[in-house]
Amino acid sequence: MRALRLWRLAWGELGDPPYKKWGLIFSLAFVGAVSLLLFSLSNGLERLVQRQLVGELPQVVRLEPQRYSLGPLQVDSGLTEQSIETLRRLPGVVALYRQAHLERPALLRAQYGGQSFYSDMLVEAVDDQFFTHLSQELDLSPESLPSAGEIPALLPSGVVETLLAAMSVHTTLPPLSGQLLVGRHFSLEIGRSSFKRDEQPPAQLRCQILAISPLIGVSGPAIPYSVAQKISAQPLRPQALLLFLRDPSYLEGLQPTLQRFHLRAPQVELALEVGQALGWGRLALALFSLLLALCAGVALYSNFSLEVKINARRLALFRALGASRGDLLLIFWWRTLFIGLAGSFLGLVVGLLAGQALNLYGAFKIPLLADSPLFLPTWGSQLWIWPLLNLLCWLFSLWPVWKATCSSAILAPNAE
């Protein structure tokens, strides 16, 4: 009740009503609008750069050991059971699958349009659960799953592209798309190679292509770990991991653990490097915004100091009429609050409108920006404008307002 009465006093008893403090409101709005614009533009720019350079951040990541060159030799740190278990327990990790090379040679044999194709391949083994995971994710019907005696297999997209290119050059067969290969069969002759025969007796596997994936091996098909283990002469040694994340945002938090275990995620390294570079850009923007805020703060400080000075006698009269220091504090804080709220609201509206106008203009002028707008405000940046500008207003008016509350009531009787 008393606070409301003092609000009425704050509204017009001390010089101009706060809504007439256009200079202060505009300077705060300017800081708010420019900060919102700059941060939202940096968001949009970051997304645009990442899309153009590395595509969207993935949810599934292939991890490889870091390789070191020692003269002509290249060694890698390898993957251990400990590192695999640690990674599995990290926040955001939904699933983790091992990948290993089958050390025996293999020959892939397939037929299409009455013509045979065979080629040396390096067979890769992936954890069995990955196949289950993939079947559920692809929502495969029971009839499209491999029948008894057949082994599910995945083909790396790189191999498929080479295969299809070779077919189009060397045969007259109609071209195939990668997706048409799904559900088709091929045979793997383990132990055979055009280079050298295996010393162990050969084994033949009939495989059905479950999917084409860019995430598994590079030089050959992937089969379940358990099958590969049975035909391998020695225990399989994981050489890569397939990591499924709840959200791509967990990628950044993963980096320290990857570094600890000497692992790398080639797909995301560039994205993170770009993100880090843009992080510096954001810091520069934050400093620029801070500088603007300081300028607005100085204007606020000067204005409030002048107001206190001009109204010294009036404030003294208030004290003589029974106003406590708290009352004077509240009168000024009401004014500060109004200016802060009005400035932040205006800044937000102007910033959003200017940003949307920029998006429209950008989309009209540059087609690339139609899909990836430059002005990309986040809820966070919009919500933070309010407390930040009000805090700024409050901080810079603190000292003059404090001086106002110290106004001595004895100024009043000594008027004239």
């Binding site: 003092l6 009036r314 009429l321 406590s324």
Partner: protein, 221 residues
């Protein structure tokens, strides 16, 4: 026996307490009973206004104590502000009105700092304006009033909260003798109307303006 309304005991005050100069007030004793009219006389710089500020709680004494109705003045700033609001009214040499506001709005100003309901305060303000003959001007902007009318508005503002002590600092300064006479009449009317004790400071008044019932204190003598 009821304690006096106001009592100063061994009061000391100096604006430069660390200097060797003699203090403005030293071991000063004074009693004001309820309903009395006091005239504090003295030359410029004798300490009249300082004494008024001390008893009004606007300044703190450096020695001695001030008792109001037998109790020391509140120690905390907030309690002192509340006490001042409830018990003391000030009339200044300059009426200090907001010229952009109406007479009624000026009189109501002390209500903003108190807990009294606005309706009750408004009724009291209208009553005071009626008593002071300002009812026809209640909606007039204060800037449009004459000097005497402004002083009456300031008096109404000082009496809004029914103070028991009215402190008037040099209300006759800059007034010609007929205006000073009117001001004194106004103060006497206020006293008989409100039953408040009045303490007024002034330079030496012509004897014809003084009233036989007044208590006179020579400050700085």
């Amino acid at each position: 026996m009821a304690p006096p309304l106001l009592e100063c005991r061994d009061l000391s005050f100096s604006y430069a307490p660390k200097s060797q100069a003699a203090p403005l007030l030293a071991n000063f004793n004074w009693r004001v009973e309820a309903g009395q009219f006091w005239l504090l006389q003295g030359y410029s710089g004798s300490g009249k206004t300082t004494l008024l500020n001390l008893v009004g709680g606007l300044l703190r004494p450096q020695g001695g104590e001030i008792l109001f109705e037998g109790r020391p003045l509140p120690a905390s700033e907030g309690q002192l502000a509340r006490w001042r609001q409830e018990k003391v009214g000030f009339i200044f040499q300059d009426p200090q009105l907001d010229h952009q506001r109406s007479v009624l709005q000026n009189v109501l100003l002390p209500l903003y700092f108190g807990a009294k309901p606005l309706a009750q305060g408004q009724a009291r303000a209208l009553e005071l304006l009626e008593f002071l003959g300002l009812t026809p001007w209640k909606q007039t902007l204060a800037g449009h009033l004459s000097g005497g009318q402004k002083q009456r508005v300031a008096a109404a503002r000082a009496l809004l909260n029914n103070p028991v002590l009215l402190l008037a600092d040099e209300p006759l300064a800059h007034l010609d003798p007929p205006q000073a006479q009117k001001m004194i009449q106004l103060l006497e009317r206020l006293q008989s109307y409100s039953q408040a004790a009045i303490v007024m400071t002034a330079h030496y008044l012509p004897p014809k303006l003084e009233h036989p019932d007044w208590q006179i204190l020579e400050v700085g003598s």
